[in-house]
């Protein structure tokens, strides 16, 4: 998808001025946070499970090659096919090749964020194949021609009346005077439209929350059941998954599942947790004739063994963005690429480049709320700081920032000079502040005084006053 991260500031400004978006974001702030907390509080071993989940993934990442090979072997044994895709382009080519071979006209899709990352829908459409998103949120934003603004609630920025408008525009074969007031009527309409698509589609594409090395299974975690219809009703099921989704055993996956839904939506477990192993067997009542897994790297392997390896533990629950005050202020689209919020601030520069995504790891107060709720205990602020270090090393920050920082550090490294300089500065500022005790505007600090006053110094530093007090004693 088109990269809009370089204009992060403008994106954020637009988001802050968008009254409808601001109302929608209030829901993220209130709903997700409270539900996660209730779910976590209700489970005494929740914190211990987070440790366990982290350890499982760390172990897997240390032996990723081994588990990927074991997984591939099991998929093949079950009658499936594994395709290795080093780049997004490779992945698109592989999927298109499968679709063309079976003469697919329509492809249904369960929610898959990596399909956004590789730009699959555009590629299929450009090649005459219609992709139909079947997750309700994804369906809505597909109609609107938008990208997801949240990794588990892609249409969280859209309100009900906008959905109604979109449905009336898109579903022209239905009675224009029909009642679409209630959320249920919207849901039923989408369900009826999509039901036929499942039968029409030759190929169903899903993502995967986990790949199990022990069994060769792929796992999807959903709430609408659309993923199951997508993957069982088509002739061909294609699973899109990135390398780090592989997990050693069924037991490991069931451990991580216990923190996933609780962290994401506050559910004990999602409505559907579906395990798929290979194509339909002769004795199976249903299922696809072909089962393909496209294993996508697209930058993951270069994160192994470096400062950002911990990020590969991410299970895409969205808790970090649900708890992020910056995300709450600007929403997901402002981040300008597939992955928003704190996880996006670390992942986007890793998968694209820090030159393009430099704003993302900087637009954080390091408040640490993301890390405090991450079920995989990913040190997100620490890794954002790593990105700032990379930027500094490569001189990517504005020259004025570097100069200011250098000047400050020059004095801060020399205590005697620092005392003299700060004493003078504080005295000057104290004199200029007059009787108000604060500044309404200040040269070089307009970013601050644009929105708030700057409390003025008292006129002397503590060090000066302390020395005077000692001298007097």
């Amino acid at each position: 998808m088109q990269m809009r991260s370089p204009r992060f500031r403008e994106n954020a400004r637009e988001a802050l001025d968008n009254a409808q978006l601001q109302r929608a974001l209030t829901n993220v702030e209130t709903n997700f946070v409270g539900k996660r907390k209730a779910a976590a509080d209700a489970l005494p071993e929740f914190e211990a499970l987070r440790d366990k989940a982290r350890d499982i993934k760390n172990h897997t990442l240390e032996h990723l090659d081994l588990y990927l090979k074991a997984y591939e072997k099991k998929v093949i044994e079950a009658g499936g096919h594994v395709h290795w895709a080093e780049t997004a382009e490779d992945a698109r080519r592989i999927v298109l090749g499968i679709c063309k071979r079976v003469n697919a006209k329509t492809v249904t899709k369960g929610k898959s964020i990596v399909s956004e990352e590789i730009g699959l829908n555009e590629h299929l459409s450009a090649n005459g194949i219609q992709p139909v998103e079947t997750d309700l949120g994804e369906y809505i934003i597909q109609l609107r021609g938008e990208a997801p603004s949240h990794i588990i609630a892609p249409a969280v920025h859209v309100n009900k009346s906008e959905v109604e408008t979109e449905f009336r525009r898109a579903h022209t074969h239905l009675d224009p005077n029909r009642n679409l007031e209630e959320p249920e009527t919207l849901l039923n309409e989408a369900r009826a439209i999509l039901r036929q698509k499942y039968f029409d589609a030759e190929v169903g594409i899903t993502g995967a929350n986990f790949l199990i090395a022990e069994t060769g299974s792929s796992v999807i975690v959903t709430n609408e059941g659309n993923g199951d219809l997508t993957q069982t009703l088509g002739k061909v099921h294609i699973v899109l998954a990135t390398l780090e989704k592989v997990t050693p055993t069924l037991e490991d996956v069931s451990q991580i599942l216990r923190v996933l839904a609780r962290s994401a939506t506050g559910q004990d477990t999602s409505v559907y947790t579906t395990f798929s192993t290979g194509p339909r067997r002769p004795e199976d009542p249903d299922g696809p004739e072909e089962y393909h897994v496209v294993l996508i790297d697209n930058g993951r392997s270069s994160m192994l063994g470096g400062d950002y390896q911990d990020m590969l533990r991410c299970i895409r629950c969205g808790a970090c963005m649900n708890h992020c005050p910056v995300y709450h202020a600007i929403g997901g689209h402002a981040y300008g690429w597939v992955y928003p919020g704190p996880m996006g601030a670390v992942l986007t520069p890793s998968l694209t480049s820090i030159d393009e995504a430099g704003h993302l790891p900087n637009a954080s107060t390091f408040c640490g709320r993301c890390e405090s709720v991450c079920p995989m205990r990913i040190p997100l602020p620490k890794m954002m700081r790593h990105w700032r270090t990379r930027e500094f090393e490569r001189h990517l920050q504005p020259a004025s920032t570097r100069f200011g920082l250098g000047l400050w550090a020059f004095f801060a490294r020399r205590p005697a000079l620092y005392r003299a300089a700060t004493g003078l500065m504080v005295r000057t500022l104290g004199l200029f502040s007059g009787k108000r005790g604060r500044f309404a505007s200040m040269p070089f600090a307009s970013g601050w005084t644009k929105y708030r006053d700057l409390p003025a110094p008292e006129g002397k530093t503590f060090q000066q006053m302390w020395a005077e007090r000692k001298d007097a004693a």
């Binding site: 005050p325 637009a363 801060a412 005392r419 502040s433 503590f462």
Partner: protein, 264 residues
Amino acid sequence: MSDTPRVALFVTCLADLFRPSVGFAAVKLLEEAGCAVEVPRAQTCCGQPAYNSGDKADARGVAEVAIRAFEGFDYVVAPSGSCAAMIKKHYPELFADDPVWGPRADELATRTFELVSFLTDVRGMETVEASFDGSVTYHDSCSGLRELGISEQPRKLLASMEGLMLKEMEESDICCGFGGTFAVKYADISNKMVSKKTGHVEEAEADLLVAGDLGCLMNMAGKLKREGKATRVRHVAELLAGMTDQPAIGEHKGTPAEKARVDG
């Protein structure tokens, strides 16, 4: 260690420059807790501005100044969760691969504390002598809360103050939008965050807003003043030390003081 520990006060750069009364309040509280307080002259800043801007060389340079300045004291105490966490949590990381400074950083980290948690957790302080005739709301600054686990300690000491009524605001544990250079670099986003915060402060209907970090306090006080809101703002140490006769943050000597009362 004797019964009277030698404590170095790490004033922190913001308190040194903008709010010396926080330093004096810290000294008073530490002395009440039975400490002999000294203020090493050769201290400057913890180095966070460089560290969080990715400038590791300058961060190390500034941190070395602090490590030297605070050598030999039983404890180092800062009236800031953010600066204390920088020393306690981040210095060891900053010098992890340094055979000379690494052990010194680790050792300093074990001796360094944030003021309020030091008073309660290390010195066993249960009550303070000061009283306050009015209502107070407390903002949990992020570093203190999430890196050092400071939440109950200030509330316990505030509750011990005669006359003081604690009025909790909604979302007291959500960031105020300061974030150091963030407040200037991403002023629009920061403004949205601090506006939410001052809204919650106003809804709490308290006379006074307190917190443990001057950065957050200057941000919130500056916004409250800009919005023309009446809630006054102080560092929690000033209130606990009974030093509320000084003008509040962003105010001047001419501004009438709140109904402060200091016993003893």
